[in-house]
Point group: C2
Chain length 500, copies 2
Amino acid sequence: MIANDPYAELERRFARMSAVSRAGAILNWDRSTMMPDGASEDRADQLAALGVIGHEMMVAPDMAELLSRAEDGKADLDPWRAANLREMRHAWIHENALPSDLVEARTRASSACEMVWRDAKKKADFKALLPTLTEVVTITKRVGEAKAAALGLPLYDALLDEYEPGGRSARIDALFAELEAFLPAMLQKVMEAQKRAGAPLPLDGPFPVEAQRQLGLEMAKTLGFDFHHGRLDVSAHPFTGGTADDVRITTRYDEEDFTRALMGVLHETGHALYEVGRPRDWRRQPVGNARGMVLHESQSLLMEMQACRSDAFVAFASSRIRAVFGKSGPAWETDNIHRIYTRVAPGFIRVDADEVTYPLHVMLRYRLERAILGGDLALADLPGSWNDGMKELLGVGPPNDSLGCLQDIHWPDGAWGYFPTYTLGALAAAQLFAAARKAVPDLLGAIGKGDFAPLLGWLRANVHGKGSIADTDTILSQATGAPLSTAAFKAHLESRYLSA
Amino acid sequence: MIANDPYAELERRFARMSAVSRAGAILNWDRSTMMPDGASEDRADQLAALGVIGHEMMVAPDMAELLSRAEDGKADLDPWRAANLREMRHAWIHENALPSDLVEARTRASSACEMVWRDAKKKADFKALLPTLTEVVTITKRVGEAKAAALGLPLYDALLDEYEPGGRSARIDALFAELEAFLPAMLQKVMEAQKRAGAPLPLDGPFPVEAQRQLGLEMAKTLGFDFHHGRLDVSAHPFTGGTADDVRITTRYDEEDFTRALMGVLHETGHALYEVGRPRDWRRQPVGNARGMVLHESQSLLMEMQACRSDAFVAFASSRIRAVFGKSGPAWETDNIHRIYTRVAPGFIRVDADEVTYPLHVMLRYRLERAILGGDLALADLPGSWNDGMKELLGVGPPNDSLGCLQDIHWPDGAWGYFPTYTLGALAAAQLFAAARKAVPDLLGAIGKGDFAPLLGWLRANVHGKGSIADTDTILSQATGAPLSTAAFKAHLESRYLSA
């Protein structure tokens, strides 16, 4: 059946796909936070069924004709509807590029590999991972080839396009080259400056979980998180899930160290505010989706790295931190807490890295995943290349593969082409925050009083509320006057770490 | 597309419907336990989409032919598959009986009425409820007529059949007539005996929520609840939800009174054990579903009323109760706690009623809902008829409609034909427990030691594991030697309340 108004029929179908996908998002959140361990298979079956239902709606036989007919009438659509139709087509191309058996093989291979990875990581046994990871790479290449053909892109770009629509490796190469020319020298200068200043005093605990949770709730609210439309819970790996009207953030608590959970909550709050701020009238259509992983990560890093590690915010937060944990003394002064929150040190683990060394971790992964997918690096040689790259970029060599090439879930999980978005997000965060500071008088002054309304208002207008109306560079250009670049990020690092 | 093996194709489709329905069950649980209040509309949209998807799968144009062709080959199916096909047909008849617009009107009317009801109940304002409740009754009658035609049943029986497949009002009339001849006199005798014995000593609190929760978890485990496949949480109205592999029970805590939450947990545990015990190979097919609300309620009441208010169990539990709350003294002796847990008193509120007066509440509702649906009672006259009925059956007259005909959600919610299953469940519980005591040597002795394995083993074999392989009376007859009757229930009440 083909409708009289093909665009309206498409909206109806995509609204239903959105409802199914939002249902899946809550079920995924539950799986990581609430679900008893015996229910994994049951939940996998539910999520697989929802996945197939969504897929079948997208690849329905009449979709191609509906899209074409709607595109014939595109001139009559207003800009949001026209952009929505463009995003529908883009989603359809991605979904139609893969035959069902490849979709299924991809899911199966990554599930199997992820299971093996958990054990291999514990045992630092890369060899144990090699067979299933090889299978993942083989299938990822097939996926990449199919998407490359459908999108008219090189293989890596076709994979990247799933996470960052419009993202292109040529662009990344150029940006990363600038970072590679800048960061190692920068890192050395920061380390020297830190050495001169001496180590910060340690913050002695313990810090009861409930007090940490209350502090996290309070600070998330301070940033603008609305708990009528969201929750904060615990999971093994912190994430932001749920839906725009019901956003679920998670963290994990360590009674010996509150600093990571607190900053983790603020990071996820940045993601959550983006979700909540998506255009109200379009959040159940493709054009209302978050633009991509670059802007998504920019929002978490803008909050965590730009706003919440600023002198101004740490001064505000440290008085609350002292009150909540009942602490005082030199270690608990703002200056010491700020030094802890801006400590730089090359390490083995990406997720523990500071903002200076983090891009170096990402650049290594980007380099290696392109080499593997391009056939220039055999998987068996990954540990060696990893360790060489760590020495070259960060000056440290992991003592085993658990602290090396086995640390991340992304490759076993099939997320090839995802890593660079972390660092592109960090660049975008710096660029957006610099623009916000120019546009909003005394932005840091407000943040120092715990008033995030001016910042949030600017982000809503310039990022969140744009949804997917335009591509990342257009949104960035309109918001900051320029497409994505390394300039603001470099300036930020120099200002924070070398200006004192 | 019609498959070569129509029965196998039906299994495939019903498995997917089951997955969608299980996903909905978790989302419903989340709505009542975890969801932030601002997400109601979002969640309603997700659940509506899953509902429509399930409905469309069931009424797909080729389903009638698939069912017919599978039925042609029924002789080749084993008993489980044959029963599964019968249950598929039954589910299909129910779903196909209603045109889509009536399904939607029903959902809309009951949602609207439920909203009005919450406020009307607070204000004891029946007149405020009358318009939307009239709409619900009008639509319920249309639903009943459509289902009556499809099933070849009287209107009320067609509605009842949704909750208790095979349930018939002629049967209920006969059983309820026996109870009506028995209970009022019984109640009087119990009240006299209680008066002679004097009131039990009060259990003074407060009882911290966390201690109550730990006690509930411990006792649920004692009954056989496996927390690898389930959770215990808090909700405004206690319920059992989730799936057989992931069963979610809830309660609510009152720091002044632990007794209701504890017994509430054991009640829901009874429901949960039924869900978990459904036949493992068939739990995602119609034949693996719980047989109906009569057997479901029988399992909660068997645990709560038969097993857990027995002298034996109260003796076991009261020592744990004393330990958990750090209490001692005469009020905390087993005998006093048992007297509290078997206290009988006519009251206004069904959900607060003891097991002697509960059926009288249900009989009133059954009488009234049949009169309303049959056109013999105008809705405007409901409060008067309610209050007259309360006086006649229970000897008490509610001072306002909030404590009277506005107390239950069921009618506003569209659940007409549901009420009698509570009392049929109580009869079945007594009958099954009596049979279990005959079949299992010293069953109460084991329960008195906190050993529920013998009871659970018998229930698994005789009730839980049967799923929907046969109708309720057949399952009961095989388990107890007779179809549903009032005999065991009457004997139970006499033994518990009048034998001392």
